[in-house]
């Protein structure tokens, strides 16, 4: 049913349609509205059989999800930012044990400095954890990806993070088509676990594995993700047959056929980028877009094929590998190695900084002319940075950086934009 609703509410409805049996929740912005809505549904008896477990921390949330998934229950949780970091040990365990948990990550920056706003630092920090990571461009896609995620996770017996931009998507009201229960049931069969903790047939899960078998177990996690590279497009096709729309897949291209310059990004900023590309195309610029939906597994071959006819690319990413540059960009460069394509990295939108069209117009024109440095920090306030660097040169006791920058900018409390 088509409705105008909040992203978090829409995702909660999608999760409910997937018939989860255990939902573990610990609130953290900007994910909270999702589990709040699910909690209300369970309490009202609209979602049965399902146990909603309030836990004392994110570490407990993932640990409970591990336990319930190992007991054969379809298990769901959601988190963001510091919450994801707090559960990291259990995140790796969920993947290592091969448990098909689905988790929403409402992408948010990582402190310090503490910041509640959106960027992709949190889930990207878990890129090597063994979890798959799918990024939604719109709230419709967030809804659809969750339905596909349960199917894929359970088929491969591996966990998945569905990543949606915190606030920008989670708190946005927009048009979303919420599927019917019949459609979701037709697409998502009941959970048939590969391994179950059952008192009637006792087994152990989580053996200590020494050098004689550790690599094989780890390789199998990699092999599963390689299988996912095959399955994700097939599952998107099947999704289209039942739900009637294109959603998911590994990548999505836009005006790429004759593009000399290709902009690569993940998540909701793709919408803004497409608007800018339309405006530039109208002026004759040969520019296109490559959206990456599946960050893990990373579709190296498809990315290479999408870029091979272009002359250059620019990766616009909401993440920073400190001391290195871009995270997504490093993956993209791996995909095009040996092609001689010119690549640029643009770090943008960290900690919720707005990414306006005007900045993108300027950036993309510079990329076309190949006038950019290898790594560009979009809309960085160089005066503020240089002032702090100078202060550190002048004084040993230069004080806390975040407080100094806020003071220099005359900001008493955080603001958006």
């Amino acid at each position: 049913m088509l409705k105008q609703t909040e992203g978090s509410k829409a995702v909660a409805e999608a999760i409910a349609l997937c018939r989860p049996e255990v939902i573990c929740a610990y609130p953290i912005s900007p994910q909270t509205h999702i589990v709040e809505a699910l909690g209300e549904m369970v309490k009202a008896g609209e979602l049965t059989p399902c146990e909603f477990i309030n836990v004392e921390s994110e570490f407990a949330a993932m640990s409970v999800a591990i336990g319930s998934s190992a007991a054969g229950a379809r298990s769901y949780t959601a988190t963001a930012s510091q919450g994801l970091l707090f559960m990291v040990e259990a995140v790796y365990n969920a993947a290592g044990l091969g448990l098909p948990i689905v988790m929403t990550v409402a992408n948010r920056a990582i402190g310090a400095p503490i910041n509640i706003w959106n960027d992709h630092s949190d889930s990207l920090s878990q890129r090597d954890s063994g979890w798959m990571q799918l990024f939604a461009e719109t709230n419709q896609e967030a809804v659809d990806l969750h339905i596909q995620a349960f199917r894929l996770a359970e088929e491969l017996s591996m966990p998945i993070m569905v990543c949606m931009d915190g606030f920008i998507l989670t708190h946005a009201f927009e048009r979303v088509d919420i599927p019917s229960q019949e459609q979701v049931d037709a697409y998502l069969p009941p959970f048939e676990p590969r391994q179950v903790l059952d008192p009637a047939e006792p087994i152990s899960i989580g053996a200590m594995v020494g050098p004689e078998a550790f690599m094989e177990v780890k390789y199998l996690a990699h092999a599963k993700q390689m299988q996912a590279l095959e399955r994700i497009p097939q599952l998107a096709d099947e999704f289209k047959q039942i739900f009637g729309r294109d959603s998911g897949g590994l990548i999505r291209t836009y005006h790429i056929e004759d593009a000399e310059t290709v902009v690569i990004a993940m998540g909701s900023v793709l919408g803004t980028i497409k608007d800018v590309v339309d405006e530039m195309r109208a002026e004759g610029h040969k520019i296109g877009v490559l959206g990456i939906i599946s960050f893990r597994p990373f579709p190296l071959e498809l990315v290479r094929a999408a870029l091979i006819k272009s002359r250059r690319f620019i990766v616009l990413e909401k993440s920073l590998a400190v001391g290195m540059g871009g995270i997504v960009a490093t993956n993209v460069r791996m995909a095009v190695s040996g092609t001689g394509l010119k690549g640029f990295t643009a770090i943008a939108g960290l900690g919720g900084r707005a990414i306006p069209k005007s900045s993108l117009h300027k950036l993309f024109r510079q990329a076309e002319k190949e006038e950019l440095e290898p790594v560009t920090f979009v809309d960085l306030d160089w005066d503020a940075v240089n002032k702090q660097l100078e202060r550190e040169k002048q004084t040993r006791r230069s004080g806390p950086i975040a407080e100094n920058i806020l003071h220099d900018k005359g900001i008493v409390s955080a603001k958006f934009g």
């Binding site: 409705k3 105008q4 708190h171 927009e174 803004t272 306006p356 409390s413 603001k415 958006f416």
Partner: protein, 193 residues
């Protein structure tokens, strides 16, 4: 695309106002996107929220920096932040006050603008009168509907019924209906002036 920015304070229903505007536009078959400024959500702190309305899918995710319309829920913000920043020259302004633009010191501002696009509305009083709470958001979006003709009062009422029920819904519908009539009345006076 038509872009609306609402300024107010935490507790005045600023975010809810943009959400309801988007629902009203959706009820008319249009595409709409509402989102808050995600600031520190404290009662009394300045809050900004945004709403876009279009006849095609809205992909843009930047904050609204050049609004077609401004709704100002709290006139005391005028002394604190530049609420008019980026407002288009022919943009609409709806201000919650029982005074006139002139008596609250905006005489020079309104002189340079089209009077048919400017309006004040005692929205807090309407909220108190009909709902029993000094929340100006629903009267203001109904007033905006009347000022701009962007959406119908019926759609605002549908959005109210989706958000509230029972007595609260009834009170808000009464507040919206009176607000709509008050603004239409003011607009008529302007067009005769």
């Amino acid at each position: 695309m038509f872009q609306i920015r609402i300024h107010g304070r935490g507790g005045q229903g600023v975010v809810t106002a943009t959400e309801m505007l988007s629902v009203a536009a959706f009820e008319e078959g249009r595409h709409a996107q509402a989102f808050p400024s995600f600031g520190s959500e404290r009662t009394g702190a300045p809050v900004v929220a945004f709403c876009r309305i279009d006849d095609k899918e809205i992909r843009l995710r930047e904050p609204i920096m050049e609004p077609d319309a401004l709704i100002i829920q709290d006139p005391t913000l005028l002394h604190q932040i530049d609420v008019f920043a980026g407002l288009k020259p022919d943009g609409y302004v709806l201000l919650n006050t029982h005074h006139t633009f002139e008596t609250i010191g905006l005489g020079d501002f309104v002189k340079e603008r089209d009077h048919k696009r400017l309006c004040t509305l005692p929205a807090t009083q309407l909220g108190l009168k009909h709902v029993g709470r000094p929340i100006p958001n629903v009267p203001l979006i109904a007033g905006f509907a009347a000022l701009s003709d962007m959406i119908q009062l019926e759609s605002v009422i549908k959005a109210i019924n989706e958000k509230f029920s029972g007595k609260v819904a009834e009170g808000n519908i009464a507040a919206a209906t009176e607000a709509y009539a008050l603004v239409k009345e003011q607009m008529k006076e302007h067009s005769h002036a």
